[in-house]
C-alpha cells in the first residue's frame, strides 16, 4: 500500500513536471508577433473585444492596411472590426467569418476579393499567421484542414511546439517579455503605417493563360454568400485600391458578374480611387501595394458614407458604453499616429475630433 502511494506520488509529480515544462517551452518558443511580424497577432486580438460590431471585414492585407475602423466610428458612428491577416485565403476568410458568427451577428460583412485568385495555400508561414490566432472551434479545425500544404501536419497546429522546436536558437527578449502577456498591435484589426513611399513604375500584370478563378475559390465565395444570407447579413464585395499584385479586368468582370447574379454590392476601389482622392504619390507606404494612414482614412471616409447611405448602417454614437470603448481606442489610435509621425519625421495634418461629437 505504502509502495503504491509512493508510485502514485512519483507519477503525479512526473506528469506535473512534464506538463508544466512542456507548457512553458511552448509558450516560450511560439512566435509572439509583437515587435517584428505583427501581422500574426491580428486574428487573435478580436477575441478580446466587446463583440457587438455592425460591420466585419474579412480578407487579406488589402483590408487590414487599407481601412480604418477608427475613422468609420469617428466620422459615421459605425462600429466595425477587421478580421484579416497576411495573405488570408478565401477559405480562411470563410471560416473566420463562421467563427465570428459564433460570437455575434454583424449587419454587414465586407470581403476583399483579391484572394479569389488562389486555389491552394501558397505559404505555410502565412497559414500559421492566420490560423494560430483563431480560438479552437470546428471552424478552426476546418480552416486548418482547408489550408494545410502537403508538407504540413495537423498535429503541428495542435502542439505548436512541434512546429517551432528550432526557435530556441533565435529567441529574443520579446519572447521572454511576452511569455504570459501580450500587447495590442492593431486598431480593431487595422495595421497603421504613416510613412510614405510613392507608387512609381508599378509593373504591369503578366498575361495569364487562364483568367478564370478556380473551383475552390468560387466554392468558398458561395459558402460565404450562403452563410451571410442564412444569417440575414449583407455581403459587400470590395477590391481595395492596391496597384500590385495586379488586378486583371477579366477577374473584375467575373466578380462583377457574380455580384450582379446574386444581387450583391461590389465596390472596386481601383476605379473609385480618383473620386475618393487617392494620391498614389502620398497615400501609400510601399509604392502602391497598401495604403498608408492618409490613404486608409480617405478610403474609410468614402466607405463610411457608402455604408450609411447605401447599406443602412446607423450612427451608434448615442450608445454610452460603446462611446467609452471607442474613446479609449481613439486615444490609442492617436498616440500611435503621433508616435509614428515622430518616428518617420512626418508633420501631422489630421484634424482630430472627439469620438462622440
Amino acid at each position: 500500500m505504502k509502495q503504491k502511494t509512493e508510485y502514485g506520488k512519483k507519477a503525479v509529480l512526473s506528469i506535473a513536471a512534464v506538463g508544466i515544462s512542456l507548457f512553458l517551452l511552448q509558450r516560450l518558443l511560439v512566435p509572439k508577433y509583437v515587435d517584428d511580424v505583427v501581422e500574426g497577432a491580428f486574428i487573435r486580438e478580436y477575441y478580446k473585444e466587446e463583440k457587438d460590431f455592425d460591420v466585419i471585414f474579412v480578407g487579406d492585407c488589402e483590408v487590414y492596411e487599407n481601412f480604418s475602423p477608427a475613422v468609420l466610428w469617428r466620422d459615421y458612428g459605425i462600429n466595425s472590426y477587421i478580421r484579416g491577416s497576411a495573405e488570408q485565403y478565401i477559405w480562411q476568410s470563410y471560416y473566420i467569418l463562421e467563427d465570428t458568427l459564433r460570437y455575434e451577428m454583424p449587419k454587414a460583412v465586407i470581403f476583399n476579393v483579391q484572394s479569389l485568385q488562389f486555389e491552394n495555400a501558397q505559404s505555410e508561414a502565412y497559414n500559421r499567421m492566420t490560423l494560430e490566432g483563431m480560438k479552437w472551434s470546428p471552424s478552426k479545425v476546418n480552416a486548418i484542414r482547408a489550408s494545410m500544404k502537403p508538407e504540413e501536419q495537423f498535429l503541428d497546429y495542435v502542439f505548436p511546439l512541434l512546429r517551432y522546436h528550432t526557435r530556441w536558437s533565435e529567441l529574443t527578449s520579446s519572447d521572454f517579455a511576452y511569455l504570459f502577456r501580450t500587447k495590442r498591435v492593431s486598431h480593431n484589426g487595422y495595421y497603421m503605417r504613416v510613412d510614405v513611399k510613392p507608387a512609381e513604375n508599378v509593373p504591369e500584370g503578366r498575361p495569364l493563360k487562364d483568367y478564370s478563378f478556380g473551383e475552390n475559390a468560387w466554392k468558398y465565395l458561395d459558402l460565404m454568400r450562403e452563410l451571410c444570407k442564412k444569417n440575414d447579413i449583407q455581403l459587400i464585395l470590395i477590391k481595395a485600391p492596391s496597384l500590385y499584385p495586379h488586378w486583371y479586368d477579366q477577374w473584375d468582370e467575373q466578380v462583377a458578374d457574380y455580384a450582379g447574379k446574386y444581387d450583391l454590392a461590389y465596390l472596386n476601389f481601383l476605379e473609385l480611387a480618383d473620386e475618393i482622392g487617392i494620391d498614389y504619390s502620398k497615400d501609400t507606404y510601399d509604392a502602391g501595394l497598401h495604403m498608408n494612414l492618409s490613404g486608409a482614412e480617405k478610403l474609410s471616409g468614402y466607405l463610411g458614407a457608402y455604408l450609411t447611405e447605401q447599406a443602412g448602417m446607423k450612427n451608434r454614437k448615442g450608445e454610452e458604453k460603446l462611446c467609452e470603448i471607442w474613446e479609449e481606442k481613439l486615444e490609442a489610435y492617436e498616440e500611435e499616429k503621433q508616435r509614428q509621425y515622430q518616428f518617420y519625421g512626418i508633420k501631422e495634418d489630421f484634424n482630430e475630433r472627439s469620438s462622440c461629437d
Binding site: A17, L25, H165
Partner: protein, 530 residues
Amino acid sequence: MFFTSYEFIGFIAALFLLYYRIPKKYQWMLLLAASYVFYFMAGADALIYILVTTVTTFFTACKIEENETRQKIYLKEKKEELTREEKKEYKDGQKKIRFRWLIFCILLNIGILAVVKYANFAISNVNDILDAVGKKQQISYVTLILPMGISFYTFQAVGYLIDVYRGTCAAEKKLLRFALFVSFFPQLIQGPISRFGNLSKTLYKEHFFEGKTVAYGLQRMLWGYFKKMVIADRILAGVNTIICDTSTYNGAYIFVGMIFYTIELYADFTGGIDITIGIAETMGIQMEENFIRPYFSKSLKEYWQRWHISMSSWFRDYIFYPVSVCKPMLNLLKFSKKQLGDRVGKRLPVYVSSFLVWLATGIWHGASWNFIVWGLANWIILMISEELEPWYEKFHKRFSVKGKMSFRLFQIGRTFLLICILNLFDCYTSLADTFGMIRSMFTAQNWQILWDGSLLSLGLMALDYGILTVSVTSLIAVSLFQRSGSVRDQIAAKSYPIRFCAWYGLFLLVLLLGVYGIGYDASQFIYNRF
C-alpha cells in the same frame, strides 16, 4: 510510414494500448494484423510479394519436415527389414527430394528479389555491352515496384527454410504464426534479419504488462530517435552538399564528407535498430542485437563481427559454410593442395568462398557496380590482412606494442579511416566518381578548408557543429559505458529524480534538437533502401 513520422508514433501508441488490453492469446494475432496494416500503408501492391514468400516458404518447410518425419517413421517401421545399404539409399533418395523442395523455394524467392531489385541493373549492363559491340538495339527498362524490406524478409524466410532443412529448427505449423515471423513490422524497415529459432521464443508468447520491460523499451526507442533525428538527420545536410557536387567538393572535402557519412550511417542505422528493438521490447519481444560498438574495432575483420551482425552471420551461415563444404569446393581443395602445396592449397577454397560471400554482400546492398566493388574491396582487404597476419604478429612481438593503449587507439583509428574510405563507394553513384574522389583526397591541396570557415558553407552552421560535437561525444561516452554493462541498468540503479532527469532530458533533446517538421525532408533510414 517512417519511424520518425507522427503517423508511426500514433500507430505504435494505439497498438501498444490495444496489445496489453486484449486477451493475451490474441496478442500475436494483433501484431500480425498491425504488420499487414503497416505493410499495406507502405504500398498495397507490395502485399502480393510478401504473401508469396510467406506461403511458399511455409508450405515448403512443412513439406520438408513432413518428409523427414515420414522418413523416420518408415525407417523405424522397416528397421529390421532393410539392410544398411538400403537404408542409406532410401535416406539419400529422401534427402534429394527435400533438397529439391529447398532449392525450388529458394530460387523462387531469391528470384523474386532478383527480378524486382536487379532487373534494371542487369538490363543496363546488357545495354552497355550491346553498345560496346556496336549494336544499336537496346532493351527497354522495366517498371517494377520494390516492396519495402524485401531483402530483409526474403533473407529471413530463406534462413528459416534452410534451418528447417538442416533440422536446426522445427517448421512452424500455423501459417498465420509464420506470416507474423516474416512480416513483423518493426524489422521490415531495416532489419535485423531475425532467426526463427530466436525470435519465435518471445514472438508468440503471452506477454503481461511489466513496467520495467516497457520502460526499457521506450528508453531504447528514445535513444534511437536521438541518434537518428539529432545526429544522422542533422549531419545529412553536410553529406549531401559534399557528395552532390563533385566539381566543387573534392580533395579535403572528401575527407570531411567520408567522416560525416560514416557518422551518419552509424547514427542512422543503429538508431533505427534501437527503435526496432525498443518497439519489440515494449511488447515483451526480444530481438537480437545487430551491433556491438563497431567503430571500436581494431581490424576490418573484427568490424564485420560487430557491424550488422544479423546480415554478416546470415552470409556466413547460409552461404559461406555451405559453399565451403560443397562438392566442387572440396574438389578444388584437393586440387589446390596437390598443385600448390598443403599450406597455400588449403586456403584457396576459403578465399573462393569468401569471394562469393562478399560478392553477394555487395549485390545485396544495392543494384550498382559501386556496391559490388565495395564488397570486393572488403574481401581484398580481409584476405590481405589474413595473409599478413604472421607478419603482424612478428611486428607486435618485435616492438612489444600488443595490448598497449596507444597502439589499440592507433588500430581503432586506422580501422575507422579504412571503413570511412570503403563507405565512399556507398556515397557516390558511379565508380568513376568514387575513385576520382578518393584520388583527389590523396592529392588534395585544399586542407585549409578545415580551419578557414569553408565548412560553414556545407549547409551546417556553427550551432550544428556544436550540437554534433556534443552528441557524437555522448555516443562515444555511452559506448564506453556499455563496456561495463547495460547503460539502462546503470541509470535504473540511480535515484528516481536522477532517472527522471536523464530520460526526460533526453526526450527534450530529441524534441528541441531533432531535425523534423516543416523544411525537413523526411529522409528514409539509409538501410531502408536495401
